[in-house]
């Protein structure tokens, strides 16, 4: 496989995952706005922070408004990570690696792109927002499903999965980081349950409400949420889960190619760190510091994968 193709696959799936995550965050933001009584739009600053989009927003907008935030996250062409920009970038990469994709995957993605172009052509009114986000979620899920159902389990698939899980881990880590103040040890040491709005934000933005309830029941506390989102092996968006998938796909590549590249070693180290940690250790180190170290490790891992598999010249 061409290094360029591996690169294109990796980014296609990163952008696809990003589009989905951003759509979910917008949904969360709207939901919170609807369920609170005061009128300010403060929550949107934090939502945009979770998506690492606040910096760009501030540079182009004077104040934080709900409409401004939604448009920025959903369809702004000036925001490279908006849903529309991400889907366009995913498709651009897909065109680049067209020969590595099945027809089903390509058509699902191209269909997703065409649909997104159509429904995001004009500003989306609040009334239409839920339906629009639903379509985005379904269309991206269709690409994922087609990938799962039609692609050979070979190096092509491995690079697709690496992109997916690196993006996902990054996303989960950032959401935790932005919200870390609500999960500070002081909060749970008193044994108080968290402010509704905050735990809603965290769990909803990771599609984790149902899963959490199944695993821990309806009582919410900071310790359990952190445990669930960082260390839980069953939760498909937890850091541990993502790292384990990344490591597994790197192992497949290594055995296919009969090499033992540095990236496998880094991924293994990351996975082992989750196995040894228990959540108390995380809080002792400081959640923010801990998350930062995970983000750094992910960044390093991504760079090493690019190098090991010759993404660039």
């Amino acid at each position: 496989m061409l290094g360029k193709t591996a690169n294109g696959l990796y980014w296609m799936y990163r952008y696809l995952e990003r589009a989905e995550n951003t759509a979910r965050l917008i949904e969360t933001g709207q939901r919170i706005g609807l369920t609170r009584l005061d009128q300010d739009d403060d929550e949107w600053a934090s939502v945009m922070q979770s998506a690492s989009m606040f910096h760009g927003y501030k540079e182009t907008h004077d104040e934080v408004t709900k409409d401004g935030a939604i448009d920025w996250m959903l369809r702004s062409k000036d925001n490279p990570s908006s849903v529309l920009s991400s889907i366009s970038a995913a498709r651009q990469n897909a065109r680049l690696v067209r020969t590595a994709l099945t027809n089903e995957v390509w058509e699902a993605l191209n269909g997703c792109y065409m649909k997104a172009q159509e429904i995001l052509k004009r500003k989306v009114t609040e009334r239409d927002l839920p339906a629009v986000l639903e379509v985005i979620r379904q269309r991206t899920a269709l690409v994922r499903g087609m990938t799962h159902g039609t692609m050979l389990r070979n190096d092509i698939y491995d690079f697709a999965r690496l992109g997916t899980f690196l993006e996902r881990a990054d996303n989960t880590a950032r959401i935790l980081d932005v919200k870390y103040y609500v999960l500070l040890p002081s909060a749970f040491s008193v044994g108080s349950s968290l402010d509704n709005v905050h735990w809603e934000t965290i769990l909803r933005s990771l599609s984790a409400r149902g899963g959490f309830r199944m695993a821990y029941g309806s009582q919410v506390n900071a310790r359990d949420i952190a445990q669930f989102l960082i260390l839980d092996k069953r939760m498909p968006r937890s850091l541990n889960f993502c790292a384990t998938k990344i490591y597994a796909n790197l192992r497949y590549l290594a055995s296919d190619y009969k090499t033992e590249p540095e990236s496998s070693v880094l991924a293994q180290r990351l996975v082992e760190s989750f196995m040894h940690n228990d959540i108390e250790v995380v809080f002792e180190a400081g959640l923010h510091e801990y998350i930062q170290s995970v983000l750094n490790a992910l960044g390093e891992l991504g760079a090493q994968i690019e190098k090991d598999y010759r993404f660039y010249e």
């Binding site: 496989m1 290094g3 360029k4 020969t99 191209n110 269909g111």
Partner: protein
Amino acid sequence: MNEEQKIFDEMWGRNDELRDPYKEFQSWFQGEDLKRLRAKQREAEEVFRLTGITFNVYGRSEAEERLIPFDIIPRVIAGREWQKLSKGIEQRVRAINAFLHDIYNRQEIIKAGRLPREMISRNEAFLPQMMGMTPPGGVYTHIVGIDLVRTGDDQFYVLEDNARTPSGVSYMLENRETMLKMFPELFSTNRVQPVQNYPTNLRRSLAACAPNKCEGTPTVAVLTPGIYNSAYYEHSFLADQMGVELVEGHDLRVVDGRVAMRTTEGYKPIDVLYRRVDDDFLDPLSFNPESALGVPGIMDVYRSGGITIANAPGTGIADDKAIYSYMPDIVEFYTGEKAILENVPTWRCSEADSLAYVLDNLAELVVKEVHGSGGYGMLIGPTASKKEIAEFRKKLEAKPGNYIAQPTLSLSTVPIFTKAGLAPRHVDLRPFVLCSPEGINITPGGLTRVALQKGSLVVNSSQGGGTKDTWVLED
């Protein structure tokens, strides 16, 4: 007599008598409902959009991808008509290859006085870098497209040879695929010769031209200028269908005397490169030094037998419009036979007598730039305004050597589907030819381009032309 009545229609002839190849089609069409067909036409468009069969428009924004309009009415050619055509095509392609070998080696045709030396020496399409070089297998034009037009029952002309990087074959294949999906019933009443083997044949044909240094099964790759090229879809389609890598210049470099592609496991040599990049951009060390699309040093590897480039560099000398007028001589010179396919009579404006005639008859002639393509920079006398003719006259007088002129042919029409039912439109045909040491392979049919505007003769997709499926029937 009315001009309209003289035009030959491939379905109805000149006298409104249903021609044989269209009989089955006609009986099917009569039983069809216009509303259903309109829905089918829209459905076809959806299929094309979803599949991403688009072309990028040069000079437009990056995002601009357009569909080439597809018409659902097939163009039907009888098996016996095709047989004669394919013989003529094969003869012409053999002659083109022999001509290229001669021009880049002994230049017998010039010595024999059949072609003026300046046609070569002053021609930009001639590449001195190719002198004395014979490509692997002696094949210069691995892929050729011959543009044909029809004016009567038994009258075909070659409008143009495409010996560099002919495009459009993906449309031939996708058009058929779409028709099979939408109108399966038509294929059970008509025995249509298949085109689907093209990608397999292409790969085999390319592999058969592998260079000396190739070890084992030849590695083939398609070289594209990139995602913003107007034909990018076709490049990725062909690579996909052949099951080979689609590479860009920056994926390649010369490693140990071979051209190699950067893979996830390191550099891997390529044996045959089907390049869809123009000569000029192929190697910044040999040609345009600014080019970022090519591979520095590929020409050295080529000369030392390390890679096959398809088509060979310098084949443009054979399809140049100035050379075109010599094609009947060229065919005769190398095959010893008269050309089976006729050329359109052509005046070379570089010759004083011809120029005088052309200037006197501008309103009746089609005048083309010798090096132009895509239907740009040409004058269609009969449909041009007085002002356009006057302006063109100035250009022609300033640089007569840049132009050739041809009579306006009354191109045949075939029916297309319009809101009101069937309506005749002018067409041309580009059959695709593969050459290798194993022989010449012509896919039955080819790409039919159709001028969708009533009365228009311009079939180019960049100027409002469409395409349709082309059937060659099994007789």
